[in-house]
């Protein structure tokens, strides 16, 4: 199947996903309904700070992890 020109493939939590080109981390979090979970984001091995979600853009081939923080002891 030919990839839609306005979409790209990225990997989220180990699964390959087709998402719109130029999508922000913030929009991805909204799309995945993770906004209220307090989770943290890793993009290609780097931590993405919450204040930067809206201006951080996903690129083709990006590897993203949405990680729930561990606060138990």
């Amino acid at each position: 199947m030919k990839e839609a020109p306005d979409h790209m493939e990225i990997v989220i939590n180990g699964f390959t996903e087709k998402v719109p080109k130029g999508i922000s981390i913030k929009q991805l979090i909204l799309d995945y309904d993770e906004m209220d979970s307090g989770m943290i984001v890793e993009q290609n091995g780097r931590f993405v700070y919450a204040q930067d979600y809206d201006q951080t853009i996903a690129s083709p081939g990006d590897v993203l992890e949405f990680i729930h923080p561990d606060f138990g002891g």
Partner: protein
């Protein structure tokens, strides 16, 4: 000014003193060190045991709780006969028995924004054995205000995290976790996870106290996935928009 080690100490610490990274000089550094440990539960039991066994000279542990049956699957300082007793007392007794050479100050107290700075005192290092965001924010503020490094650890289910916050050098706790909407319910947890995370915290603490400059998890978040049995680190840059530390504060300003 270093105090020579007794013959008993030389025997007790022999297996670590033969390491080139430690030797008699390093052991002396550990003996002169003062570590503040918040929480004597799953994480704190394990880090306290290793720090005490390694010969850290002074360990101040604070915990407000009593020992419950549900603690015993992972909180290795507390035994069946301790259920119902004060956790700080239970922990203090075990740690003193393990190593009477260490000065163990086990305090039954709630850590608050008001008493945090006094309780931490002039510790060389803060080690996190807590189980909630609120107390970690207190530790973070104390760390920033006093310039004391803070070894964060946390577990949940089959995963865990560790990183070291060094004021003025690395991001702080609230750089990473600014959100207030964290779940309040206590997470499920399998004993070996706090064992692994508490052990790594103790390793980082000992290396820091020895003055070893590498592998302290500065600006790196170690993420342990016990289901996949994988360890990986996430690199962290500066967070200049942090509401607490502003990404870098080493100008003597305090935060509140």
């Amino acid at each position: 000014m270093s105090t020579p080690l007794s013959s008993e100490e030389a025997l007790r610490y022999h297996r670590q003193m033969v390491l080139p990274e430690i030797g008699e000089k390093g052991q002396g550094r550990l003996k002169r060190a003062f570590v503040f440990l918040a929480g004597l539960g799953g994480l704190g039991s394990v880090s306290a045991l290793y720090l005490t066994a390694a010969g850290v000279g002074r360990l101040r542990g604070v915990d407000k709780d009593r020992v419950e049956w549900g603690n015993l699957n992972r909180q290795l300082l507390h035994f069946t006969e301790d259920v119902g007793g004060i956790k700080a007392e239970s922990a203090g007794n075990k740690l003193r028995s393990l190593n009477p050479r260490c000065r163990i100050e086990a305090i039954h107290e709630t850590l608050t924004m008001e008493n945090g700075e006094e309780l931490v005192g002039d510790a060389d290092l803060i080690v996190d054995g807590t189980d909630n965001v609120e107390t970690r924010r207190i530790l973070n503020r104390v760390s920033l205000n006093k310039g004391i490094p803070y070894v964060f650890g946390g577990v949940d289910g089959l995963t865990g995290m560790v990183t070291t916050f060094i004021p003025g050098k690395t991001p702080c706790f609230e750089c990473l976790f600014p959100d207030d909407r964290f779940p309040k319910a206590p997470p499920g947890v399998l004993g070996p996870l706090p064992g692994i995370i508490g052990s790594i915290q103790a390793l980082v603490a000992i290396k820091f106290l020895l003055g070893l400059p590498h592998g302290l998890l500065e600006s790196r978040l170690l993420y342990v996935d016990g289901a996949a049995l994988s360890f990986r680190t996430i690199e962290m840059g500066r967070n200049n928009k942090c509401r607490v530390c502003g990404g870098l504060v080493d100008n003597g300003e305090t935060v509140s």
